[in-house]
Every structure is written in structure tokens, then in C-alpha cells.
């Protein structure tokens, strides 16, 4: 299993943001995306996850193995922590193992309604979804927002021991150091030229 990205260009709202992105990730490898706000990290991840088509270039990865996680966790306030996870498990045809609650420190919160959780606890629940669905290629958009230092460590351990060590692949956009031994990709050199993608009016001038 491999994730190969060739000459990828992405646009947000019709404006080309980044172009010429190339990388290749093998099993057990992670890539950390860096870059200033608005450079196109989220757009790149959404494109990789298949939520929007690329402007140009190719994304090759194993079918039905990728998962996307963003700032919005898709947590339902009226369901309990366990019910939230069970829903995502049954959508993906897996089951919720008890070890997931331990890995994300959710054991005591299991029967609490998700609406009563704090922002950091909700975030942990959102990340616990990744441990439930059994996907091998993860696209993570700022996974550590609103987590305290202890939870960041929990999540980094999960990524290292239960995902990458099991042959998973991860592309992560983050501003903090997760302690992963992973190459970093700064998106600044890939910033799209203003008229890339043929959106210029030049032909009419």
C-alpha cells in the first residue's frame, strides 16, 4: 500500500492555492504539512480525501482505505460517547474495542452525552473515531486543536504505536511538534502563481 501524489494542484473557491506538490509515502510513513495560515493545507487534505477534485495532477492510493478528520468532528450532542463511536464503527463495518476508550482516555466518559463534554474531550472523541474505523491512510487537519499536553501525547502515541507501526500512512497538518519521526513538507514553495489554472483574463486583454 502506497500513497503517491504527482504534480498535484488544488483550488479553493475557484482560486488556485498550491501547485506542483509531489510526494510518495510507504507503509508506516507519515508526512507533516507546514505553512502559514491560508497557504492551502486544509484544501490539500480535502483534495487528498476526495472531497473535492484536484485542479491538476494525480493521487494514487488504495481504494476505500482513506479517512479524513478536520476541525469539525461530526459528533452528535444527543448521543453518548459510546453511541457516537458505535455509529462510525457500523458505518465502516467494524466494531468498537474497549482499548479505544483507554487509548483516548474516554473510559469514564463512555456513557456521557457528547453534548456535555468539554472542547478537549470532544476532540478526543473525534480522534477516537480514527481508532474505530480501521482505515490505513489518515488525512488529519490540525488534530491537536484544543487538546492539553497530556492528550497530545496520548494522540501521538496512538499514531505511532497503533497506526504507523501497524503499517498505516498519515498526512498531518499541524503547527505543533507531535514528536513523530516524520519528514516535513513546507507548502510555501508550492504557492500557486496568481493566474495558474487558466483563470486569468489575459486572453481578453
Amino acid at each position: 500500500m502506497e500513497l503517491v501524489v504527482t504534480d498535484l494542484a488544488c483550488a479553493r473557491g475557484g482560486v488556485p492555492l498550491i501547485e506542483g506538490v509531489n510526494f510518495r509515502l510507504k507503509e508506516g510513513e507519515a508526512l507533516v504539512l507546514r505553512g502559514a495560515n491560508g497557504i492551502g493545507k486544509t484544501t490539500l487534505l480535502r483534495t487528498l480525501a476526495g472531497l473535492q477534485p484536484p485542479l491538476a495532477g494525480m493521487i494514487e492510493c488504495t481504494e476505500d482505505q482513506s479517512a479524513y478528520a478536520s476541525h469539525a468532528d461530526g459528533i452528535k450532542a444527543q448521543l453518548t460517547v459510546r453511541e457516537n463511536l458505535e455509529f462510525w464503527a457500523s458505518v465502516h463495518g467494524t466494531s468498537v474495542e474497549a482499548s479505544v476508550f483507554e487509548a483516548f482516555d474516554l473510559v469514564d466518559l463512555r456513557e456521557r452525552f457528547a453534548g456535555t463534554l468539554s472542547a478537549g474531550q470532544k476532540r478526543r472523541l473525534g480522534l477516537a473515531r480514527l481508532g474505530v474505523i480501521g482505515r490505513k491512510i489518515l488525512f488529519l487537519d490540525e488534530p491537536t486543536v484544543s487538546l492539553d499536553r497530556f492528550s497530545v501525547k496520548l494522540f501521538a502515541d496512538f499514531l505511532k504505536e497503533q497506526h504507523l507501526a501497524m503499517g498505516g500512512i498519515a498526512v498531518i497538518a499541524t503547527h505543533i511538534d507531535l514528536g513523530l519521526e516524520a519528514p516535513e513538507l513546507d507548502l510555501e514553495p508550492f504557492r500557486a502563481a496568481y493566474d495558474a489554472g487558466g483563470s486569468s483574463d489575459e486572453a481578453f486583454l
Binding site: S70, D73, S90, V91, H92
Partner: protein, 218 residues
């Protein structure tokens, strides 16, 4: 798909207003009509089929904008779109969940409310059967409208304008079935038309709904 259906029904029950709201609205509209048009039994029983059908249309409309809006806001829709669940299937299940929470209670309660409008007893059965066949189409068309307007602020009004004209065939043939039933005429033709519209809508609109969602998720 069953997981999504169960989740939506559970949310409808726990968030409140799932089963009751549309039904209460239906009840109030039907109770208001005699106050507006006066108590003459003859007029009421003549307009009853139309009023009952229009009221169920409006009741179905009431909860449409929630079908996708909540899932869109909390990000669940993007996660469902990237899950193994086909978006077409999700669209179908969303419509089904909407029907179970609004169309089904309306169908079951409508004959009792027909009594308030002095609907002829012969027509109760036809009211029930035409609503049972017609209201699924209302939910499916509404789901399509909700998908078209999912990213918009205050998209509810725009959605009503898009959806209500599409309800016209179901309304015409549904009300016609009840009227003919009340007068003792044959009802086969309008009833077949209602069922046909529902079948056609369920054949095509899940795909259109999924396409609209994909565009709105970009």
C-alpha cells in the same frame, strides 16, 4: 445504512420535536380551517380532501431544512461522504428517516383529523392509502431540496420555493383520490399516478441528491 437510519431516528427522538412537531402543526392547521371558513358541514366536507393534503404538505416541509443542515454544520456530512457508505444510499436513508418521523405519523393520524373536517367516512380509507403512497415522495423531493441548499445561510425559504412546485403532481392526484373516494367513484387512476410519482422520485432523486451534496461539500 441501517446504522445511519437508527442514528437519525434516535436523534429525532432525543432532540425533541422529531415525531411530534409535524403532527402538531398538521393538527393546528386542520383545526384552524373550520374557524376560517365557517361551520357549514357541507362546505367543510367538500374542501376536506384538499385541506388535509395541503396541510400534510406543509407539515412535511416544516422539518426539511434539518435533514442535512445539522450534519453539514458539525462536519458529519463530510465524514459520511468519505466513508464506505455510498452518498446515494445516505440520501435514501435520510429521506426514509424523514418519512418515518413526519409522513408516517401524519398518515396514521389523518383519518382521525378528517373527522374534524366532516370528511365522509367512505373517504377515510382512501385518505389513508393516498397519504401512505404519497408522503414518501414528499420526503424524497424535500431531501433533494435540502441537499441543494445545504451550505446556505437561511436556505429554508429558498428550499420551500424550490420544493413546493415539485409537490404539485402528488398533491393533485392525492387530493383527487380522496375526493373520488368520498363520492364513491373509482380511484384507481389517481392512486396509480400517486404511486408512480413516488416510485419515479425514489428511482432518480437519491442520485440527484448525492450529486448536489458532492458539489456543496467542495
Amino acid at each position: 445504512m441501517i446504522a445511519l437510519l437508527l442514528r437519525d431516528l434516535r436523534l429525532a427522538v432525543r432532540a425533541g420535536g422529531g415525531f411530534g412537531l409535524g403532527l402538531a402543526f398538521f393538527l393546528i392547521v386542520v383545526v384552524l380551517v373550520p374557524f376560517g371558513v365557517g361551520p357549514e358541514a357541507e362546505i367543510l366536507s367538500r374542501i376536506a380532501p384538499g385541506i388535509l393534503w395541503v396541510a400534510s404538505l406543509l407539515a412535511a416541509l416544516l422539518s426539511l431544512d434539518r435533514i442535512f443542515a445539522l450534519d453539514y454544520e458539525d462536519g458529519a456530512l463530510a465524514l459520511i461522504a468519505t466513508s464506505p457508505l455510498p452518498l446515494e444510499g445516505a440520501a435514501f436513508v435520510k429521506a426514509l428517516a424523514h418519512w418515518i418521523t413526519t409522513g408516517l405519523p401524519l398518515t396514521l393520524a389523518a383519518p382521525a383529523l378528517g373527522f374534524l373536517l366532516n370528511l365522509k367516512p367512505e373517504a377515510y380509507w382512501f385518505l389513508f392509502i393516498s397519504l401512505a403512497l404519497g408522503t414518501p415522495a414528499l420526503s424524497m423531493i424535500g431531501t433533494f431540496g435540502a441537499a441543494l441548499t445545504v451550505g446556505l445561510r437561511r436556505g429554508g425559504l429558498l428550499m420551500s420555493l424550490l420544493v413546493l412546485p415539485l409537490y404539485v403532481p402528488t398533491l393533485i392526484f392525492g387530493a383527487e383520490t380522496v375526493r373520488r373516494g368520498a363520492e364513491g367513484l373509482t380511484t384507481t387512476t389517481p392512486l396509480v399516478m400517486v404511486a408512480g410519482v413516488t416510485a419515479g422520485v425514489f428511482a432518480f432523486l437519491p442520485f440527484a441528491t448525492a450529486a448536489a451534496l458532492r458539489i456543496n461539500l467542495r
